[in-house]
Assembly symmetry: C2
Homo-oligomer: 378 residues x 2
């Protein structure tokens, strides 16, 4: 049985990337690496749609999030975080770890934060130093309206807007400079389509100025050290070289395809999947669904953990279950990464068969057909 | 021309490891990864010769060093660091970054710290919370007598002994538990023979107790979070999965060969190289040379930067130049990693030819023969 990975990170790795990562290793201070690094930096700017700094780090996305907190803030700052899922909560945990005065907007899991709520907070707290948000909340499959929120934050305050775009950059429309996002972070195993192990922080000039005055302690994640090393086309610390080799190839693929075309592709895959899932009588978990993944409610009559295990054991399909209190209650299907329409058909088909195995009552073939119909009508 | 990597990290990656890293990616919370993780943890304990905790982190070795500082220390602690090279200095920089009271023993670059100096310090500062050392100083090629120092530290104080074993673990004899080393760190691209991107912290019970009371801020490098995740056979944050796949294979190779045999092999490669280099009329930089790499002085008549570049451009050999004030003054040849005697012969031969290209006066063939002789007499 062939293994098919549909988890919202890590996602499927393209063959071209796999091959690039299998060529011999080079030293990270030599010319060969510098050429790779230079190309990666230029393409990451395209990826984030920014002319600001982009600083790759050898860490997971969480490491890149920590880098934002410790480089942008100072001890006496007060900040706003939005917790509508596990990753939104993480911003709050990070800020509190470093003793920053942290206000958290609680949003029900499955819903997106309303721009008005952020506006009201900023009105009441005009000295807010930074607003930390999640664009695509991977734990719930919800997308926030970052474009509108960015406009609100700019209009109402001097706060930096820091966006976790880990499962949105390269997947959902994301225009860092045009929308006025000051800082964005991503991880390598999402829209960048390579294995996990790299995080990236992108910052505009306004954000960079804050790194100069920040007084929180940092060393490995000190972005000033990274920027200085980057002037010499390398990283401050020994980087995950093979991942950079893969990243160059993945970014070439992204450029060849074009970001706008990718955004359109993912929107189509996600829309088709949502249609398919609903045609099987299942419900979506997210009220404002992200196109990078689809979170599906497990019907009460089905054991969610057993269902996810069954998809893997019988059909070779790995989806992600729910996290925290959603464990066993939802499962999540990735669209971001190296997927096409027939992958989603295969997914829908396995889903139908697995549902039948669990005695779920639905019209056989309806799910696959609903997915197919979206592609045919395109 | 075939590329040959002789840098003291990254080192040559074995074919078996390369192949293991080229198989399809799996999700890091599933059974397939857990099996890999379980095997890796067991084998890392063998690698460090410890029954304590071993916690792999997705970061470079510097990240693992930072993890030691922020998890073991508290604000009011005073510590000793030893600076006899770039990596020894790094312990001091890290401790100072977090506001710990840091004393630094300065040792001339190229020399090893004398156990008596540490003894004298501990006598004068009985409240020292931790001593931070470098076993094999990669910037100078010097090995410290960690076994004796460990005995001294245990006899004279309650200080934790924290050892950077980044270029010693798996290469030089290193017996963490038997010698009484409390904490050791390594990086993946050295004796572990895989690409960079993973660091590992090993801790005994005494050290672990300190992590419970440490009050320095940490999140990504919080070892308590890692230990908790490890109970469930995974990592706290998304790990560099492909590197774990490679690490399992590399550790299998290390077990098959046996640590004692590896130590012996590296000692032989290093001894042969030192003989070869000296037979060419060159001088060693290190007074107590480490068997993981050989640092060679560049003769005054030769431009060191040009020489290193020439070795690469004409012979495909990448060695490392000097760092900091040693730039252009030394070059460094790795022995640790996937190397055998004929690799060292090839290296010595390229060195001879390059020296001839630079007009150095020596007996042609003497270097290669000196290396060969060591292997023949073995």
């Amino acid at each position: 049985m062939r293994a098919r990975l549909f988890t919202p990170g890590p996602t499927q790795v393209p063959e071209r990337v796999q091959i690039a990562m299998s060529t011999p290793l080079m030293h990270h201070r030599g010319l060969e690496f510098k050429k790779i690094f230079e190309e990666v930096i230029a393409d990451l700017k395209y990826f984030f749609q920014t002319e600001g700094e982009v600083l790759p780090l050898t860490s997971s996305g969480t490491g890149a999030m920590e880098a934002c907190v410790v480089n942008l803030l100072s001890r006496d700052d007060q900040v706003l975080t939005v917790a509508g899922g596990k990753f939104g909560q993480r911003w709050g945990e990070l800020c509190r770890t470093y003793g920053v005065q942290t206000h958290t907007l609680e949003v029900p899991w499955g819903e997106a934060v309303a721009p008005e709520e952020i506006e009201a907070f900023l009105k009441a707290h005009p000295k807010t130093a930074a607003v930390f948000l999640t664009h695509s909340e991977t734990s719930t499959g919800v997308a926030a309206d970052i474009e509108t929120i960015a406009r609100t934050v700019k209009e109402r305050s001097d706060a930096l807007l820091v966006v976790d775009s880990i499962t949105s950059a390269g997947v959902l429309p994301f225009k860092m400079d045009e929308w006025g996002i000051d800082v964005a972070v991503t991880g390598s195993q999402k829209g960048l389509m390579i294995p996990p192990g790299l995080g990236v922080v992108a910052l505009n000039e306004r954000a960079w100025a804050k790194t100069e005055s920040s007084d929180l302690p940092k060393f490995y994640f000190d972005l000033r050290k990274e920027k200085k090393a980057q002037e010499n086309l390398t990283t401050a610390w020994t980087p995950a070289i093979t991942l950079f080799m893969g990243l160059r190839e993945a970014l070439r693929m992204i450029r060849e395809k074009g970001l706008e075309n990718l955004w359109e592709k993912y929107a189509l895959l996600a829309h088709a999947t949502r249609q398919g899932v609903q045609a099987l009588g299942l419900e979506l978990f997210a009220k404002s669904p992200s196109d990078s993944l689809t979170a599906v409610k497990v019907p009460d009559s089905i054991d969610g953990l057993a269902f996810v295990r069954h998809l893997l054991e019988k059909y070779g399909i790995t989806v992600a279950g729910g996290q925290a209190h959603l464990k066993g209650k939802i499962f999540r299907i990735a669209h971001m990464g190296y997927y096409d329409s027939l992958d989603m058909i295969a997914m829908a088909s396995a889903l139908e068969m697995a549902l039948a195995d669990f005695g779920w009552n639905f019209e056989h073939g309806a799910g696959v057909y609903a997915v197919q119909k979206v592609f045919m009508e395109k």
